[in-house]
C-alpha cells in the first residue's frame, strides 16, 4: 500500500479556521462575541448544525463530552441561538429543537432522584452524549477522507491514448420495434392526429404499398395500372394495392392517365 496515514494522526490538532473575514482566519469565536454582524453570520453559518455547534462549544473550552456540563453548555448554546435570532439569521428548526432538548435534560437533572433508581435509570444526558460522539466520529472521518489522495487534485491520470478505430462491420444497432410501436401510439394520442375512422382505414400494408409504388415511379415515368396488381397477392393484396393507388391520388402524389379510350390506365408522378 502506498498510502500514508501519518498526517492523519494529527487530525485533532488541525485548526480549521471557522471563517475568513477580510482575509483574517478566525479559529475561534471571540469570547465576548463581539464581531460585526455579517462576520458573525459567516461564523455561525460555518457550523454544520446544532451538534456541530455543541461540539464546538465543548471542545473550545476543553470540556469532556462524557461529563457534559449541561447547564453551562445550555446557557452558551442558548446565547448563540438568541444571537442568531437577533441577527435575524435563518435559523434551521434543528437548532431550536436542540435548545428544547438541552432545556429538557437540564430540568431532568434538577429533579431530585432516589439514589437506588439512579443506577437503573438512564442518565438524561446519555442520549445526547451518544449523538455527539457519533457525530464527532464521522466529522473526524470526513476530515480524514478529505485528506486522502484524490484524483485530479493530488494525483492525475493520463488522457486516454488515441488509437485508430478499425471499423467494425455492423455500424448501427437495430431498434426495439416494440418501443417504436408504443412511441407511435403515444404520439398519435397526444397529437389527436387521427380520428377513429381514419385509424381503421390506415392499414399499414397500404402505406407500405404506397411507398413501393412511388419507388417504381422513380424508375419509370409511367406504370401500367395492371402491373401493380399481382394476382398472387390474393384478394386482400389487390385491395391493398388499389387502396394505395387511391390514397396516392388523394394525396395528389400521382395521377392516372389514359392515353386513349380503351387503352390501359397509366400511373405517373404528379
Amino acid at each position: 500500500m502506498d498510502i500514508k496515514f501519518e498526517n492523519l494522526k494529527n487530525i485533532e490538532n488541525i485548526n480549521v479556521p471557522l471563517a475568513y473575514i477580510k482575509g483574517e482566519p478566525y479559529l475561534t469565536i471571540p469570547k465576548d462575541l463581539y464581531l460585526p454582524p455579517d462576520a458573525l453570520k459567516i461564523i455561525l453559518d460555518s457550523f454544520e448544525g446544532p451538534l456541530d455547534l455543541l461540539l464546538y462549544l465543548i471542545k473550545s473550552q476543553n470540556l469532556d463530552i462524557l461529563e457534559l456540563p449541561i447547564s453551562k453548555i445550555t446557557e452558551q448554546y442558548v446565547k448563540y441561538i438568541n444571537l442568531m435570532q437577533d441577527l435575524k439569521l435563518d435559523l434551521a428548526a434543528e437548532y431550536m429543537l436542540m435548545a428544547a432538548t438541552l432545556a429538557e435534560i437540564k430540568s431532568k437533572l434538577l429533579l431530585p432522584v432516589i439514589a437506588e433508581s439512579f443506577a437503573e435509570e438512564e442518565d438524561p444526558r446519555a442520549a445526547l452524549v451518544t449523538r455527539l460522539q457519533e457525530y464527532e466520529r464521522y466529522k473526524k472521518a470526513s476530515l480524514k477522507i478529505e485528506l486522502l489522495s484524490r484524483v485530479d487534485r493530488d494525483f492525475f491520470l493520463p488522457s486516454k491514448v488515441y488509437y485508430e478505430m478499425i471499423q467494425k462491420e455492423e455500424k448501427y444497432k437495430t431498434l426495439d420495434l416494440e418501443k417504436l410501436v408504443v412511441i407511435f401510439h403515444k404520439l398519435i394520442q397526444q397529437a389527436e392526429f387521427l380520428t377513429p375512422h381514419d385509424v381503421k382505414k390506415d392499414v399499414l400494408s397500404v402505406r407500405e404499398k404506397m411507398t413501393l409504388i412511388l419507388n417504381q415511379l422513380k424508375k419509370s415515368e409511367f406504370i401500367d395500372f395492371r402491373t401493380l396488381l399481382y394476382a398472387k397477392e390474393g384478394k386482400s393484396g389487390l385491395i391493398v394495392s388499389f387502396l394505395a393507388i387511391l390514397e396516392l391520388i388523394k394525396l395528389a402524389l400521382i395521377e392516372c392517365v389514359q392515353p386513349n379510350y380503351n387503352s390501359s390506365i397509366f400511373i405517373k408522378l404528379k
Binding site: 491514448v161 488509437y163 485508430e164 455500424k171 444497432k173 418501443k179 412511441i183 385509424v199 399499414l204 404506397m210
Partner: protein
Amino acid sequence: MENIKIKKIIESLIFSSSFPITINEIKNFFSDFSITSKLIEELIVEIQHTYIDSGVNLKKVSSGYRFQIAEDCNLWVSKFHPEKPQKYSRALMETLALIIYKQPITRTEIEAVRGVSVTSNIIKTLLEVEWIKIIGYKEAPGKPAIFGTTKEFLDSHNLVSLNQMPKLDDIIIKMAENEKKDFKSLDGALNENISFNNENDDYSGENIH
C-alpha cells in the same frame, strides 16, 4: 534541473494532456529553467526511442506531439472497446415511427404530428442508416421530400414486411404480464413516459393493422 527529470516531466505532460503538445508550449512551461528548444527536441527523440517497441508510441502530428497506440495494436484495441451501442433519441424514434406508419410523408407532416420541428440531423441519420429514403418530392412550395421506409430497414430488423411490426395489443398484454410478475419495468423509459389508455379502443392493435 537534470535532463532525466525534464524528460520524465515532458513525458508526463504529454500523457496527461488530451491534446497534442508543441515544443514551444513545453519551452514556455519550463521558462523558469531556460531550457532550449533544441534540448526539448532531443529529449523528445529520446522518449520516442524509449517507446519504440511499446504499446504506445510518441508521434508528431500537425498540432504537436502525442502518444498513440502502436500501429500493430490498433486492431486489438478496436476490438477491445466495443463500439458504444448507438442510442437513438426519442425524437428519432418518433420520426421513424411516423415515417413507418404514415409513409409517404413529408417533414412538415411529421412536424405537424410531433408538434416540434424535426432536426436535419434526425433525417440525416435515418437516411444514413438507410432505414428511410426519399421516394419523391411533393408538388408543393419548396418541393418537400417525401420519405418512406426501405428494404434495409426491414432486413436489419428481421422483417419481411411492415405487417410484421409488433402489434400494440400484444405489447400491452406483455407489459401487463410483466407487471404482474412484479418486474420493476419492462423498459424504464416506456413505463415512465407512456401511459396506455386501454379504454380507448381506437388505438388497439387490430385496428391499426
